[in-house]
């Protein structure tokens, strides 16, 4: 008999269902009403949180269909660095200095991450804001699972 599928995949990835984040909607484009929906390339397929002993940081990572080199954006709160795709500008993850953050509750941690995302969003083109909005929503939806690893630090 086939074993039931669990949410937690190999490598600690929590599976994300793209259909939860991509409802079609109507927009005006060059005076024409068209339906659009977010591309599957923009929606994370998985998310995970873990403590990186070497860096002494709590890491949150998003997994997408494609891979790319990442760069660090530190325009948000000093305790959080945002990892961004060098080619696409997608949100690839966060590097969190847990000790400096002084945020004990999940909602405070999410608030700090949202500030970091807002800093990235303020400098992004419109299409990239969609990706950061989805990244934020995925984080909020999966926050309990993600931050459970932080509780033991």
């Amino acid at each position: 008999m086939r074993k039931p599928m669990t949410q937690q995949e190999h490598g600690g990835w929590i599976r994300v269902n793209p259909h939860d984040y991509d409802q079609p909607h109507e927009i005006g484009m060059a005076d024409v009403e068209v339906n659009v929906f977010i591309s599957p390339f923009e929606i994370p397929r998985g998310v995970r949180g873990f403590y990186d002993e070497a860096r002494k940081r709590f890491m949150i990572e998003f997994k997408y269909i494609t891979r790319e080199p990442r760069e660090v954006d530190d325009g948000g709160p000093p305790e959080i660095k945002t990892l961004i795709g060098r080619k696409t500008g997608r949100i690839l993850g966060f590097e969190i200095d847990v000790v400096a953050l002084h945020a004990s509750s999940v909602s405070l941690r999410l608030g700090a991450i949202d500030q970091a995302l807002e800093a990235v969003r303020s400098r992004s083109s419109l299409p990239r804001r969609e990706n950061s909005r989805i990244a934020s929503k995925v984080l909020h939806d999966r926050s309990e699972e993600l931050f459970s690893a932080m509780a033991s630090i």
Binding site: P18, H19, D22, P24, M29, A30, D31, V32, V34, N35, V36, F37, I38, S39, P40, F41, E42, Y64, I65, T66, R67, E68, G85, K87, T88, R90, P127, R128, E130, N131
Partner: protein, 270 residues
């Protein structure tokens, strides 16, 4: 279609060139170790051949090295035909999943993969009437669903200033969202078309009226998805076009979600 350039025809030619390099190299090596006197002793007519070979060996060897090397290099950069077979299979399955119950001719409902290229031997005017050059950027068809309708010369202007990208394909290329246009008017035969019909169709599908007149599109609904390769480089656009007035957007989206990871890996370097 640019399929020949990207795939099998050119590949066969290059394989032939590479084999020819081996043959030429072997013959020249044999001639170089032979002496004219020895060849004459064996068979008199061989003597001038060996002398000619000695005088021109450097030309043959250099030619074989350069041409054969170039053939090997291009072969290495071309995808194997099996990659295109797999791509065709995905497009066929996508088409069948969306339109199996639609009835009518399968050629009326198509899935086409366009590749974005920076250069194409053509001139065209954009929707604002500005002349665009061969190096302006284009979306060209490289694969299409079905067996009887793979030949097409339809292409779209796709410049870096994406406001001027043409067609639903061009609009999808410029966005991180898939674009759907439906409820398009049914265009009659070319001599029956009213000017306002042509103008309306052109506006709703982001092409010029001249493009509509030239290409006589019959699609009544269109959907475009931008495709990336496995390393996140934008590669091209997948376009669904149908003579049905509307598409099952949800189903198309679900299917594309399944195919996108495979397509990204297949198209890496293609």
């Amino acid at each position: 279609m640019r399929r020949w350039f990207h795939g099998t025809g050119l590949r066969s030619f290059l394989v032939w060139v590479r084999r020819a390099r081996t043959v030429v190299g072997s013959l020249v090596a044999a001639v170089l170790v032979a002496t004219p006197q020895g060849a004459a002793d064996l068979w008199a007519p061989l003597e001038p051949v060996v002398e000619f070979g000695h005088e021109t060996a450097w030309i043959w060897l250099t030619g074989a090295l350069v041409v054969g090397g170039a053939a090997s290099w291009i072969l290495g950069s071309l995808r194997h035909p099996a990659v295109w077979d797999a791509t065709d299979a995905i497009l066929d399955e996508f088409q069948e999943a969306l339109f199996a119950k639609a009835g009518g001719d399968a050629a009326h409902h198509r899935v086409t993969l366009f590749k974005r290229v920076s250069w194409r031997a053509t001139f065209a005017r954009d929707n604002a009437g500005k002349l665009r050059w061969p190096w302006s950027g284009w979306l060209v068809p490289v694969a299409r669903s079905g067996h009887g309708n793979r030949r097409t010369g339809v292409h779209f202007l796709c410049p870096d200033d994406t406001d001027h990208a043409q067609g639903v394909a061009g609009r999808a290329w410029a966005r991180t969202q898939a674009v759907v246009v439906d409820g398009l008017p049914e265009l009659g035969d070319s001599d029956e078309r009213a000017q306002d019909e042509i103008a309306g169709y052109a506006q709703k599908t982001f092409v010029s009226e001249a493009w509509v007149v030239k290409n006589s599109p019959r699609a009544r609904s269109l959907m475009g998805f931008r495709v990336e390769d496995a390393r996140s480089n934008p590669w091209g656009v997948l376009v669904v076009d149908s003579r049905l007035p509307s598409l099952n957007i949800q189903l198309a989206h679900e299917r594309f979600n399944s195919y996108a990871p495979v397509l990204a890996r297949l198209l890496q370097g293609a």
